[in-house]
Assembly symmetry: C2
Homo-oligomer: 225 residues x 2
């Protein structure tokens, strides 16, 4: 393992694919981690495999069954994914998801000896999730420094959020410059098994508007087209 290894959380969506490309641009040897948490849009895990392979990154899928506890439209089929804007924290919020994902990334980083974790969270064009905010990330970094052997030994993990202050259009522009194949990515909350997007959910709306604002042709494969 090189001295510049990083664990990159990779959902298979547009944002994390871009975060992976930015980590590679910074010279990191990337270990991509995807979490199979029982999401209804399992096609994003297939997308993550394609994206990691294209980036030449090691890839690991860890499974943790959040569907068993439910509480989110992304894990409970009985809760519909909204197809028009809502206010407040939306029902697509998955309780403690980013805390769990960062905790698993921290475990893998500790075993690898990696001192850097990348996560593609973003506040501007995000959906109002509490665990995408800079203050949440800062609190996790403080926790990581206390939680681990690396922290006790004085070299805690850094949590990188290269997208956090970017618009969706800026993210897409950065990824396009780095030749991210966005056709391989799946952002839709209710993608079909082939990874085709609904075009109506919050994630699809933000993504489509991002391509328009960036002036980049939208390569997304939509259902019914």
């Amino acid at each position: 393992m090189s001295a510049r290894s990083a664990v990159v959380l990779l959902s298979g969506g547009l944002d994390s694919a871009t975060a992976l490309a930015l980590a590679r641009e910074q010279g990191f040897d990337c270990y991509a981690l995807s979490i199979d948490y029982g999401q209804r849009h399992a096609a994003e895990l297939e997308a993550a495999r394609r994206v990691a392979l294209a980036a030449g990154a090691q890839h690991r899928v860890m499974r943790v069954d959040l569907a068993a506890i439910g509480g989110s439209a992304l894990t409970d089929p009985a809760i519909a994914v909204p197809e028009s804007p809502t206010t407040g924290i939306p029902v697509t919020y998955v309780p403690a998801r980013n805390t769990i994902m960062l905790a698993l990334a921290l475990a893998w980083a500790e075993v690898l000896g990696a001192r850097d974790i990348f996560i593609g969270v973003n506040v501007l064009d995000a959906s109002g999730y509490p665990d995408c905010r800079p203050e949440f990330i800062a609190a996790f970094a403080a926790l990581a420094a206390l939680a681990t052997r690396a922290g006790v030994e004085g070299s805690p993990c850094r949590i990188h959020t290269p997208l956090i202050a970017l618009t969706k259009a800026q993210i897409i522009s950065a990824g396009t410059r780095l030749k991210v194949d966005y056709a391989s990515t799946v952002s839709c909350y209710q993608a079909d098994s082939g990874g085709r997007a609904c075009g109506r959910c919050d994630s699809c709306r933000l993504r489509r508007a991002g391509f328009e604002a960036a002036g980049v042709s939208d390569p997304t494969r939509y259902q019914g087209l």
Copy 2:
């Protein structure tokens, strides 16, 4: 669900069984959560089932395969469990384990609407794990307040650590007063499939010394007896 529900992390060992009893004594309706992380001492999960049943608590086992990433004597059979005292953070430390367990407890608490989480960490007679210290717990509580809907809405989860400043003898005295059946619990890092303890690992040594110091007859079933 009552207004006083709590998620209690329950490993099946002596400490967490006592934490569960103390949570019940405080009047909480307890939801016990055990994490099957690929520990070699899987008999502790059977113990957790017995303890939860005896306490009349709801019980959930969530699985997350930390054995796949290794890095600990508790998850990697190639790393021997020490049978005499060591210095520093021991090889039985499981990278980020308590961060992961608390994150999963936080998720379940959020779905249940519970505002209280109990974890049986302890610094005095613990084994030098970074994620058993009060400063780690305080950092997790700060994170939880930012990570969740409950936190954003002004009623974040409290993280209760009723054992944190107790000696093992004090823990055993408290549990004995509350009629915890310690014969049902498994603390040994290399218990056999029947839950019988080795009597030699760090966890066995601390446990045995605790019963002696508490003046309580040790009900542990040891291997070869």
